[in-house]
Subunit: 414 residues, 2 copies
């Protein structure tokens, strides 16, 4: 099966909106084993959209559109597809009732142009939209080909795709796809690639790498007649990846929403530990990353932003002489910050970070990117010396990730 | 002039990479007054790329490619363009020397396949790449049309576009474009649209809206024979926007990299004030947003993450009875947190936030999204009560933005 993504909207051509829908759909299609060779963006122009439909349908079995399902005259996605199919749009009463109910629920008056959102060609399969007014649609285009219309807002498109369009596609293919996400920290993309290059050959199961600052995620996907058979195909592949990569794998999960901060918070919960922070260059980013995880209140007690030198002494009891002797960016100060934060808040563990995020302030001995992360428990206090590369945001983000990884390891240590 | 963006790389079709290059180029082209009607993504396949070039050149005067300039056999961007132009690639000695020099500087051996990065059709205009090995290129394709090749990594593509490709395009058009970015906080997109709809009609000057959580940015652009004439066209438009929107405009700038946090830090610097923070639901995000701004050390003294109730008492002296009486999510507690943080660190101003970020913990009286932001100076302490809507990340982000805006206003108050 070949699919093609067609994103519709002048706001994309103007750069007013980042096209995250194309990436979301590409990832999902790729995990389903569906091939894609082209993606296109067109504006709200009927002739150009008609040409784009005809071209995409000449190349693909399934054309997936995003955007242009609203009630305004600019929303031409369905009308132009109907023209290409040689059919008329008719009112679907169940869709009309859903739209009317939504307006009643929010106490807003419904204008007549909203009824255009309930109009489809007669052979359409509706995709109800629990998060907005415009339903999606699966529209037969002849010769076994279909167009799948999805709404533009990602919070409407994503659940509609996952809950409705994907099951429809899977049922049509008669196969089940199962994926696992292997998350890696502490090894670069090129080294991961080198160690696994013979496993990334396509086929079934497949292995695909995705990168973000400091991290690599591998998606392992298998296709079979049922979920159990697909999982049986995945197991040996995942085992081989674990054997080759070892400790740099920090999680193997069933979805791709994980993060180092989530793993750190979950490891702390399992251990029953509370945590405190003392942050200089990260300035609150470490604490904020943990607080971002729902339920963080069970483990995050509190913390200190000790950005100015004097605040390191005032808030977490780093002796002024220590700073004078070793410099504020030093393993000794990171050590004292972590111990001080832990004692002040009476937590089981504390983390600290001091370093040079740049762009100014580097010296030949201590260049920008020199960072020390401290981890303190009643049993022991350790310091990770880091040499990070990148701009200010990247250095601060990587510092946070190293700290989260250290927390996870410490909480899992027996 | 009509342009078309052609992004090349199988990693885009797999969803491994988010296509930020298309948005960056779209924004810049739109600010230059260059029209775009299509964007395309194709994989690393010679026949499909050739078809994509021919289609794009049939519709546009300038085709801008990103990606596929590397040294591997998958990097086919230049080779296929040369085939479409009916020309051969030849070695450019100055490009070869630049690549060799780069390898020498990093002490790495250069393999022969890197020389492919120095090969272009004879009539090419090179675009040197100070941030990577692959130069860009402007390649005549006949009939006055050109292909502009840019490297895929955004940190190489963006400066090459701004510093080299844009001046070339401007010189070719004989016109100068000037833009101003008007930043708005505290008014929704639809209301801004309604107040300005008659000004957003296109033409010269033009006004385009861009949205991010809680914010609207307007880009005003004018085109003229020289910069002074373009600025003269912009002034009355900007004046009219200021008249209609008033206080919700927080900055008018020459580039689009500003933020509420940057404006807050700059307002503090101008006033000569230092700041402290006390954060509950934001968990360090307010402090971190200010620390992200280079030079924040002049104003950010330090802060407290007071996530657990007990830490509000221990760290910033909120009386336990006050919390008992009014609840931890209350104006009274936000007030006391801000005063406590300011006194503990001895700063000129302090901000605090307490609230419910969800997903759990809401009640009918205090639903998720109930937030109180405190702002304390020696002169006065105030509390902003907020009712925010969205998921956990959005509620925390909007809280931070409201706090930054309050800091800016307080620091600018005479």
């Amino acid at each position: 099966m070949i699919a093609e993504i067609l994103c519709i909207g002048t706001e994309l051509l103007m750069g007013q909106v980042l096209n995250t829908n194309a990436q979301f759909l590409s990832r999902r299609l790729s995990a389903l084993g569906v091939s894609q060779y082209h993606q296109t963006v067109v504006g709200d122009n009927a002739q150009r959209l008609e040409d784009a439909y005809r071209l995409a349908l000449s190349r693909a079995d399934v054309v997936i559109t995003s955007g242009g399902l609203g009630p305004t005259v600019d929303d031409i996605t369905k009308r132009v597809a109907a023209k290409v199919a040689g059919k008329e749009l008719v009112l679907f009463p169940e869709a009309e009732e859903a739209i009317r109910a939504r307006f009643r629920r929010y106490g807003r008056p419904m204008t007549e142009n909203n009824l255009s959102q309930a109009m489809f060609t007669p052979d359409t399969t509706l995709l109800p939209n629990p998060n907005g007014t415009a339903p999606g649609a699966i529209v037969p285009m002849g010769e076994g080909k279909v167009v799948i219309h999805l709404p533009g807002p990602p919070n409407e498109l994503q659940p509609m795709w996952i809950d409705q369009a994907e099951p429809w596609l899977q049922q049509r293919s008669g196969k089940v796809m199962v994926s696992r996400y292997i998350r890696i920290f502490g090894m670069g993309e090129s080294q991961v690639d080198e160690l696994l290059s013979d496993l990334e050959m396509g086929g079934n199961p497949t292995l695909s790498p995705y990168c973000s600052p400091g991290e690599v995620m591998l998606r392992a996907t298998a296709c079979a007649d049922d979920a159990a058979a697909a999982e049986a195909l995945l197991l040996p592949l995942i085992g081989e990846v674990q054997k080759r990569l070892g400790d740099v794998i920090y999680a193997i999960e069933e979805d791709d929403t994980g993060s180092l901060a989530r793993c750190a918070v979950e490891a702390l919960k399992r251990r029953g530990w509370t945590i405190a922070t003392a942050e200089s260059l990260t300035g609150g980013l470490m604490a904020s990353s943990m607080v971002e995880i729902p339920g963080a209140s069970a483990v995050v007690n509190g913390g200190f932003v000790t950005y100015q030198t004097v605040s390191k002494t005032m808030l977490v009891d780093v002796p002024a002489e220590l700073i004078e002797k070793y410099d504020v960016v030093s393993a000794e100060v990171a050590y004292a910050m972590a111990e001080g934060a832990r004692k002040r808040l009476g937590t089981d563990i504390a983390i600290s970070a001091t370093g040079l995020a740049g762009p100014d302030g580097g010296t030949p001995e201590k260049p920008v990117g020199t960072v020390f992360v401290g981890i303190s428990t009643p049993e022991r206090t350790r310091v990770l010396p880091l040499r990070l590369v990148g701009d200010r945001l990247r250095i601060r983000t990587l510092t946070m990730k190293h700290a989260m990884n250290a927390v996870r390891i410490e909480a899992e240590r027996m």
